[in-house]
């Protein structure tokens, strides 16, 4: 992620995710790791496109705000991103949308974020193990536990 230095990445995360009163703060290290894995797993052109979006954000910040993204106040960064996202110009909107997409995924996939929101994949997984369906027989009664 050459387009953003370590600190730039953190600022970007906070600008997209905001500060929640009930959810934990972003985890730049873990999220960066996920991001790299996600970019590698995708279409060959995707990492290039993603970096291009980050560079475009920097350039747009200079053009629209007169300052680099990293020098904007926290609220200014958020306003800048919201302006892009609500633009009727699909390129401006697309730049912010694409830049934000894996950041949101990398944050909300963390169990410490999703569980307080009511989504606990591990608990559902465990429950599903107790309710295995096969094609040729009915479910056992709940009390019987693991098949």
């Amino acid at each position: 992620m050459r387009a953003f230095r370590e600190t730039g990445f953190e600022e970007l995360l906070t600008a997209f995710l905001g500060r929640s009163s009930i959810l934990p703060p972003p985890d730049p290290g873990g999220q960066r790791e996920f991001l790299e894995e996600y970019l590698r797993a995708g279409a060959p052109e995707f990492p290039f496109l993603y970096r291009a979006c980050l560079l475009a954000l920097r350039a747009l910040s200079l053009i629209m705000k007169g300052r680099p993204f990293s020098r904007l106040e926290e609220r200014e960064r958020e306003d800048f991103l919201n302006r892009l996202l609500s633009s009727r110009n699909p390129l401006l909107r697309g730049t912010a949308l694409l830049a934000g997409m894996p950041l949101y995924m990398s944050y909300y996939r963390r169990p410490e974020v999703s569980v307080p929101l009511g989504f606990d994949p591990q608990a559902l997984r465990d429950e599903a193990d107790l309710r295995v369906v096969t094609r040729d027989r009915s479910l056992p009664p709940r009390e019987e536990g693991k098949p």
């Binding site: 996600y38 609500s86 009727r88 110009n89 699909p90 009511g118 997984r125």
Partner: protein, 508 residues
């Protein structure tokens, strides 16, 4: 047997009656039918094989493992449309929502009259649909299991007097784990990986996984086999080992994007010039609604109910709750705004609408990019933009009728609706294709269309290509137009029909 590249130590050369490329809604049923008739069937599948134990309900992991390009496939045009494609044993059915609808009846008339497909009759299709519905345990979603989001939306639709109901689904004893599109963790969803494929294997078919078909082998103008490469499970690149299957019949079932791409690469079966053209995708929009009460997503059946009041005009509404990781992408806000809304995720519902009959047509092309990959070109045009907007307006009306405090739409300039006044403003506004935020589509179809005239179609009603003897196509690409609803059951029905013709050919 289901084989992985690790089990193959050297290059392989096999002989079979039928080689099938792809194991999805088209390839899976075909493999089962032909294997059950005693034919030697080899299936070549680019994706890996996963079972319910591998499905951990984590969206991003599912995207990376079971979707082509980690779910990042998009159409090029205005607007960009996310078009995710499954890449796993069972094809896209392994990661689909499990809606199992018969085609919209007037569409069959159109196929018969406009596409010369008189051989496909309503009576024959009814029999096949009934058989499939029994085999796949199709029944209506259980309102008790469906979840509060679906019940709330449906209550809103009923309040407005709209035609609506619970969707038929190929799910047995579903308990609503809210995760159909990331793999069903209980094995309830009767996708091809848990139904047709295990049966095909029991009848003796072999499935070669993580194996990418690259060429259809020809001799004297006839298809005689397939050449393929085994893939490294981590990098997805060829691992140096090859598979060659000599076969009496070759069936291309790689889906509406990969099937035309393979043909275009080889310059095959395209005397009509129709290969790759006529791409239809059912462009989809979604709305998010905020309620005072807790709705508790994503527990329940993500896609449990429908509103078909405007199906005749090409608009179908079908629900879809998603985990926070995906829900967050539907909210077009950043920063504090985003955080404060996501904190209310438990009080939110999400619902989708698709343009089920559209005028827009795209195409699959071979851009001759490195590594050889298809590109999908698609522009959302005139009336379809209106229909997408109408779907958004209708969903918003239903949400408000159901008691929503606010509704969030994907239309720039109208992201947040606080009540009927905002809704009227949206209704009056002129919306352009480029105004849609994060549009998606899930049903690519039509790129090797079936028809009665070799000048206008790629395959006959039997599934055999007009140009290459013994080369059949059997997947979403052969549907001459949208079936007006989610297509998996119709693709399977076509596969059952085509199996009969392949069997005849092999037995002759």
């Amino acid at each position: 047997m289901i084989l992985t590249p690790e089990e193959v130590a050297s290059d392989l050369r096999l002989e079979a009656d039928v080689a099938i490329i792809g194991s999805g809604a088209g390839g899976g049923p075909l493999a089962r039918e032909l294997a059950s008739e005693g034919h030697r069937v080899v299936v070549i599948e680019e994706g890996g094989y996963f079972t319910r134990r591998d499905f951990n309900l984590r969206p991003s992991e599912a995207y990376m493992r079971m979707y082509r390009d980690a779910g990042q496939t998009v159409t090029l045009g205005m607007p960009f449309i996310l078009l995710p494609l499954g890449k796993t044993v069972g094809g896209t059915t392994t990661v689909n929502s499990g809606t199992a609808l018969r085609m919209h009846r007037p569409v069959l008339k159109k196929w018969q009259l406009a596409h010369g497909l008189r051989e496909i009759t309503e009576g024959e299709l009814d029999l096949i649909y009934a058989h499939l519905e029994e085999y796949l345990f199709v029944k209506r979603a259980d309102p008790e299991v469906a979840g509060k989001v679906a019940r709330t939306f449906l209550a809103g639709a009923e309040r407005l007097g709209l035609s609506c109901g619970w969707l038929p689904r190929n799910a047995k004893e579903c308990e609503g784990f809210g995760s159909c599109v990331f793999g069903c963790p209980s094995g309830s969803k009767q996708s091809v990986d848990v139904s047709f494929i295990p049966d095909a294997v029991a009848f003796g078919a072999d499935i070669y996984t993580r194996c990418r078909a690259e060429r259809i082998l020809l001799r004297e103008g006839r298809a005689v086999g397939v050449s393929a490469s085994f893939l490294d499970p981590v990098s997805g690149r060829p691992n140096g080992r090859r598979l060659e299957v000599g076969a009496k019949v070759v069936v291309l079932s790689a889906g509406a994007v990969s099937s035309p791409f393979l043909l275009l690469r080889q310059g095959l079966a395209n005397s009509s010039g129709q290969v790759g053209k006529n791409l239809q995708i059912h462009p989809a929009v979604q709305t998010v609604a905020l309620f005072d009460e807790v709705l508790g997503p994503p527990r329940g059946i993500p896609q449990a109910c429908y509103v078909d009041e405007f199906q005749g005009e090409g608009i179908m509404l079908e629900g879809g709750t998603v985990p926070p990781e995906v829900h967050a992408l539907a909210l077009p806000f950043a920063g504090r705004r985003h955080a404060s809304l996501m904190e209310k995720y438990p009080n939110m519902g999400i619902f989708g609408g698709m343009v089920s009959e559209s005028d827009s047509r795209g195409r699959v092309v071979d851009l001759r990019r490195a590594g050889g990959r298809p590109a999908m070109l698609y522009n959302l045009r005139g009336r379809d933009v209106e229909k997408a907007k109408a779907a958004v307006v209708l969903m918003a009306e239903i949400w408000f009728a159901a008691g929503a405090r606010r509704v969030f739409t994907p239309i720039a300039g109208h992201y947040e609706l606080c009540g009927p006044r905002d809704l009227r403003r949206l209704e009056r506004s002129r919306v352009r294709a480029s105004d849609f935020y994060g549009m998606s589509a899930y049903h690519p179809l039509g790129t090797c269309r079936m028809g009665g005239d070799p000048e206008w179609s790629v395959v006959r009603h039997t599934g055999e290509t007009w140009d290459v003897e013994n080369l059949f196509i059997c997947d979403g690409s052969i549907l001459p137009s949208s079936p007006g609803v989610n297509p998996q059951l119709t693709i399977m029905a076509m596969a059952m029909r085509i199996a009969g013709f392949v069997d005849e050919k092999l037995s002759a």
